[in-house]
């Protein structure tokens, strides 16, 4: 492949020379092709009732994690190169001209800058671990090669998403990951619910994609370009600060991001998406794909900086989602559902962060969340795996994912327990675990804004001042953080503590997972501990105590991402020159720690895993709040009644009434009318001479009249 290297800005030159960036993207695609062929061969064998060729099962175990490993190594190498080089401008690697039409020039090009490299690292790194996990988790499934193919394809699209150098290319990845998500959610398609869930995910995502498309259209109509470099260079020139156009663009982008990152009102697909295999949930629906919205907002930071009210909207949406999803997670019994709503909630945190302009905090939380949530999901996968084996042995039909059927599992799955415990402490925000630092930065940003030091503090939305909003955000996020700690504690308690609620027979089949699953668990557990240490800001009170732990120097992530955020900073500096210096207060940090600890403690003190019955024995929630939360505020039902139902009824009405009887009816009616008129006219042919003579005379009279008058 011809690689044309070009430097986007003329001066000064970058000294960064990437190593085969295209290969990082291409490798998963190659993996997809190989695994895809294997899967077709395998299924063909099955459908012909032949023995499945063994290589079709073995090959994916090597190829799928293999390509990921190579890609990860390449990403790491590039990362170090970039770290050691001068990078003044994002480096854009052009491959070919993709959509040249008039003044529209979209190239197939990759953009390498700190942000995309960081995302690549997360994707390939976490992705590789999950691939390895999947080898153990899915090997017994008849669709194993297909699964691996999809997973590789997903990584390919995810890399296109983060590395693409223009909005359209990002959109390619954007939709591509949606596709893979669809395919993987519906992986066990024979079960109708799974197929439905996949469909739901795709369609809801498409609503978001609509927003993305609209944003691109407006951008192009105003700027005449869609490549990142040009857009971000020209946007501050073309768009008025806080003007309607840029606000519209950002709101549409928000819609797109909300779809992909499961924010209100488009979050409904994510909990259903748990229908897919658990490693999928870990990779796609926790660590990578769902964070694409966050990535997109950060990537478009320049635009969002230009539209403060839109930014504030992003923050508010994120906050509401964080609280809302956390409430639902409080009452779920399905272990994956808890994690799913937790993910939605955590994504809300990230949104709140990037909305408030705390881009680094957003990315930071994205990264730590990728670690601990992937770890939690994989742990849940290990639990489910074990439960399945147990239940399978006795042909029990009990739900392997229902926490009421678990209990006391720490004795049977110690490694899993410790990994998950580390992740739980991380998500609860207990220092020095990863989540503490990132979540603290997020909530801290709200308090800073409330103090008037944020560009959004001066904005008025819905008649309420920005700083008030920020206070609201801070309070709500704190509440969400408390709930997070609580429901995570609840989950851990019910799963790993108390008496074991599986039957005797099943219990003997519960055992720890194999090494291919253990290693990723351990690695991710470790990352959940240390992941936060790469961004320990020594200027923040209390956090500064942890400075010795810092990896890569103090506030390394801040420094690393700084080149990416030059654009928005310049916008703010130009438009809000008198912004006060942000001031971190110690009480905020203390509050955050207190909330985390309190949440876990509350769970520990008030929940009694010993008294819990199995799913069959335990009664449903009878109190109104419990029912409301358990049934997810009935949002799915409301959507069904208010949007989907009427829409389908309308469709049916269009089809069976409007199209059939009005549009087509007019056409057929014209035909029938002609026939009727013809029959009527034919009636004059009575066969009677007198009639004919009379008709003739009538004609004569008419003609005579016409001539004589």
């Amino acid at each position: 492949m011809l690689v044309l290297q070009e430097v986007a800005g003329a001066v000064p030159h970058n000294s960064f020379e990437p190593i085969l960036p295209g290969l990082i993207v291409l490798l998963p695609l190659i993996g997809f092709v190989i695994n895809g062929i294997a899967s077709l061969v395998a299924v063909r064998d099955t459908s012909r009732e032949r023995a499945v060729s063994p290589w079709t099962q073995r090959l994916p175990s090597i190829v799928a994690p293999g390509v990921m490993l190579v890609a990860f190594i390449l990403a790491v190498m590039n990362f170090f190169r970039m770290a050691g080089a001068e990078l003044h401008e994002p480096l854009v690697v052009h491959y070919w001209s993709w959509l040249p039409a008039g003044d529209l020039q979209v190239d197939a090009a990759l953009q390498l800058d700190p942000l995309s490299i960081l995302m690549t690292l997360i994707i390939t790194g976490v992705g590789m671990l999950i691939h390895v996990f999947s080898v153990g988790y899915m090997r017994a499934d008849p669709g194993y090669p297909r699964y691996m193919a999809y997973l590789n394809l997903f990584v390919f699209f995810m890399l296109v998403l983060v590395l693409g150098a223009s909005f359209p290319l990002m959109f390619v990845g954007w939709e591509g990951v949606g596709l893979c998500s669809y395919l993987l959610i519906g992986f066990w398609f024979a079960d109708r619910a799974n197929a439905d869930a996949g469909k739901k995910a795709f369609i809801v995502n498409r609503i978001g994609d609509f927003g993305f498309l609209m944003a691109m259209m407006i951008l192009f109509a105003n700027l005449g370009t869609l490549t990142f470099g040009a857009v971000f260079a020209e946007a501050p020139v073309v768009f008025a600060y806080s003007g309607p156009v840029i606000t519209a663009i950002c709101l549409f982008l928000l819609l797109g991001a909300a779809g992909k990152s499961a924010q209100i009102p488009l979050y409904v697909w994510l909990p259903d998406a748990m229908a897919g295999p658990t490693p999928v949930s870990a990779l796609i629906h926790a660590a990578t794909m769902v964070t694409a919205g966050v990535y997109m907002v950060v990537r478009s930071a320049t635009l969002f900086a230009l539209a403060p009210s839109a930014s504030l909207t992003v923050a508010i949406v994120g906050t509401l989602t964080a609280v809302f999803a956390a409430t639902i997670a409080l009452k779920q019994w399905d272990i994956k559902k808890v994690l799913a709503y937790s993910t939605v909630s955590q994504l809300g945190f990230m949104f709140a962060a990037v909305g408030m302009g705390a881009y680094v905090a957003g990315v930071f939380h994205l990264m730590t969340h990728a670690f601990f949530k992937a770890c939690l999901f994989l742990g849940a996968g290990a639990v489910i795996h074990a439960m399945h084996e147990g239940l399978h042995a006795t042909h029990s039909h009990a739900d392997a994912q229902d926490m009421r059927n678990m209990g006391g599992l720490r004795r049977y799955l110690p490694v899993t327990f410790f990994a998950m415990a580390a992740a739980t402490l991380a998500i609860a925000g207990i220092p020095p675990f990863a989540g503490f630092f990132s979540k603290d930065e997020v909530i801290g940003a709200a308090w800073i804004g409330a103090g008037g030091a944020s560009p959004l503090s001066e904005v008025t939305l819905l008649g309420i001042a920005g700083s008030t909003w920020m206070t609201f955000i801070g309070v709500m996020l704190s509440a969400a953080a408390f709930m997070t700690a609580f429901y995570m504690g609840r989950m851990m308690l019910y799963t790993f503590f108390g008496p074991n609620r599986t039957g005797e027979a099943e219990r003997s089949h519960l055992h720890e997972v194999g090494w291919s699953m253990k290693i990723p668990l351990i690695a991710l557990g470790l990352l959940s501990v240390i992941g936060g240490w790469i961004n320990i800001d020594p200027h923040v009170p209390i956090v500064e105590w942890f400075t010795p732990l810092a990896i890569g120097g103090p506030a390394a992530l801040h420094d690393w991402l700084h080149p990416v955020l030059v654009g928005p900073e310049a916008v703010i500096a130009a438009n809000l020159p008198n912004l006060p210096e942000p001031h971190h207060a110690a009480w905020g940090i203390l509050l955050a720690i207190a909330i985390g600890v309190a949440g876990l403690l509350t769970a520990w003190l008030f929940l009694k895993p010993d008294r819990l019955g199995t799913a069959e024995a335990e009664p449903n929630y009878t109190d109104t709040p419990g029912r409301l939360l358990y049934n997810k505020w009935y949002v799915d039902e409301i959507y069904g009644k208010v949007i989907i139902g009427p829409f389908q009824a309308l469709s049916r009405g269009f089809s069976s009434i409007v199209d059939r009887w009005i549009v087509d009816g007019l056409v057929d009616g014209a035909g029938r009318l002609m026939h009727g008129l013809g029959r009527l006219g034919g009636l004059t042919q009575t066969g009677q001479l007198n009639t004919y003579a009379f008709i003739l005379v009538l004609g004569v009279l008419v003609v005579l009249g016409a001539f004589a008058f």
Binding site: G682, G687, N690, F694
Partner: protein, 99 residues
Amino acid sequence: MLTLNIALALSAILFVIGVAGVIVRRNAIILFMCIELMLNAVNLAFVALSPYAGIQGQVFVFFVIAVAAAEAAVGLAIIISVFRHAESVDIKNFSLLRW
């Protein structure tokens, strides 16, 4: 001109009587007689006009009478032919062909 007008008026009246007869009668022969009446009405018009428009008018009448004779021969033959099938000359019986 009075003569002409009387003749033309009579011609029109006879013509119209013929027309009305064709509409109202069912007996094929009488129908045919009505048509003959119409032809005669036209003849009258020709003759009446010929003093003004020229002698061709009368020549024309001559031809018309010849045509009437030919039509009478053929027409009555047709009526006979029809009568053989239907045993009737009433045209209400002739509606095999309709609609």
